[in-house]
Amino acid sequence: MKKLILASLISTCSFVAFADVAVIVNPSNSNSLDKNEIKKIYLGKSKSFADGVKVNPVNQNGNSVVDEFNNKVVGKSSSQLNAYWSKLVFTGKGTPPEKLDSDQAVIDFVVSNADSIGYIDSAKVSDAVKVIATF
């Protein structure tokens, strides 16, 4: 029994380790961003990259990567984020990033939009995109 618990603990740990979130941009994008800057983009507080190009962020739709990202980078639960955005949306002060359905959809979006930023399961990273940070 103990071994089983130990085994499941190890597998939980390794699962967490594999579920890192990679923040990705188009390979042509040479800006660097730290965690706080990424957070500000996803809260609609900063709207441009350091080089002045308007940033076009995308979110994901209700999967574990979203929870991981919201938890590690934005620091809010999905309910809190919904409440946060509802204050901006219904007062004309902001629009939340568009939501895409999968890691692949985010990769495709980032590949085809030079001004975009997205986040995916770090295990799904491909050469077509540039990883700007991992959490």
Partner: protein
């Protein structure tokens, strides 16, 4: 209903004429059921029979990004208290000069309070309704301009808004149906926030005229008193009763904290319409809450105090009858009350919350208490 189809038509027109205009539809709804726990008193329009109508709201927002920094937004709100007749409560154009500066023109919310802008979006706050002792100005929209400047000062976010416009419509001030006209509404408000802390100050002025309805005894009596004074040549006294082109001033300050799942909110407001029968009002509330993942429990204390300054009384002691009548009218506007609310919010779904609030309203002048219990489901979509 006709208004709603108009909105849909406008929206469709936008879609067809601007091939590249992106139209977004968002919405929010609150279904609220409540009742008083006493037989003979009413509060927040509830009586002893349960009602699902008074505070229920259903709203749709359409926003279209037109070309180049221009957007159009309309919010259509159907209120239960208004038989769910859909009305435009916001309808405005916004031009973004820069990431930090935008100008809006049209029909918008008057930014009196911290929660004014999203006062109907129950999902955005923890109560069933924001504290009514403070959130009691009987109109909430204006037509005009709003200049919004957002910036970052180090780790602080700053939002500065300047508005100018006007309002006219029938509202409940002294009677249930007074005709109000507010001109040259000018206001400024500034919010500073830092991660878990936020502070806000607001100042608004308006040239205020309110005609009291003759359909109700209070309106009749006040209009009668004003006329009697005027007929007797007491113009100053008559003008001090009438609410006619008088200077209205509103001041609001507040702050909120959301730190380690401890929530604290407080707001203080003052409203005065000079040289009028309306009493000087001051109100505040303080609210604490505690968040346990999806559940928030909270407790709120509210206080309202409306009265005329002592200097407003006994202005014409040489005419005892009229002096007495004026004093009585001034006293009639006095109000003093407190409210305690205890409640809970449960985020049972990422975009929906269930709330239960119990409020005890105490009228210190009549020394009566009224209890209201309300259950709400708030959602955003």
């Amino acid at each position: 209903m006709k208004k709603l189809s108009l909105a849909v038509a406008i929206c469709c027109a936008c879609v067809t004429s601007y091939a590249n205009a992106e139209v977004r539809i968002n919405g929010f709804a609150s279904i609220v059921g409540g009742k008083t726990l006493d037989n003979d008193s009413t509060l927040y329009e509830y009586d002893n029979d349960i009602s699902f109508k008074n505070e229920s709201v259903f709203a749709l927002q359409l926003s279209a990004d037109l070309q180049d920094k221009l957007s159009a937004t309309a919010q259509i709100v159907a209120r239960g208290e208004n038989d769910f007749n859909a009305e435009f409560e916001w309808a405005y154009l916004t031009y973004e000069f820069t990431d930090e500066l935008q100008l809006s023109a049209g029909k918008m919310r008057v930014p009196f309070y911290r929660y004014s802008d999203f006062i109907d979006v129950g999902y955005a706050y923890r109560w069933v309704r924001p504290p009514q002792s403070v959130y009691n100005i009987p109109f909430s929209t204006y037509e005009g301009l709003s200049l919004l400047h957002t910036s970052q000062l180090g780790d602080w976010d700053s939002t500065l808004q300047i508005i100018y416009g006007s309002f006219d419509g029938n509202i409940g001030v002294v009677t249930y149906n007074d005709k109000a006209e507010l001109n040259d509404i000018a206001g400024i408000n500034w919010t500073l926030s830092y991660d878990w802390f936020s502070a806000r100050a607001a100042y608004l002025v308006a040239e205020t005229s309110i005609g009291l309805s003759d359909q109700e005894p209070t309106g009749q009596a006040l209009n009668g008193l004003e006329k009697t004074l005027r007929d007797n040549g007491l113009v100053t006294q008559a003008n001090d009763i009438a609410i006619s082109e008088d200077d209205g001033t509103f001041i609001g300050v507040g702050f909120s904290i959301d730190y380690n799942d401890i929530l604290f909110d407080a707001e203080y407001t003052q409203l005065e319409v000079e040289n009028s029968i309306l009493a000087k009002q001051s109100q505040y509330y303080a609210s604490v809450g505690y968040r346990m993942d999806e559940i928030i429990v909270h407790f709120t204390y509210e206080n309202n105090d409306d009265k005329h300054d002592a200097a407003d009384f006994d202005k014409i002691t040489q005419i005892p009858d009229l002096n007495g009548a004026i004093n009585q009218a001034l006293l009639g506007t006095k109000a003093q009350s407190t409210v305690y609310t205890i409640g809970t919010r449960y985020d049972f779904h990422p975009s929906a919350a269930l709330k239960v609030d119990f409020s005890r309203f105490k009228n210190d002048i009549t020394d009566t208490e009224t209890d209201v219990i309300a259950v709400a489901v708030d959602l955003v979509f």
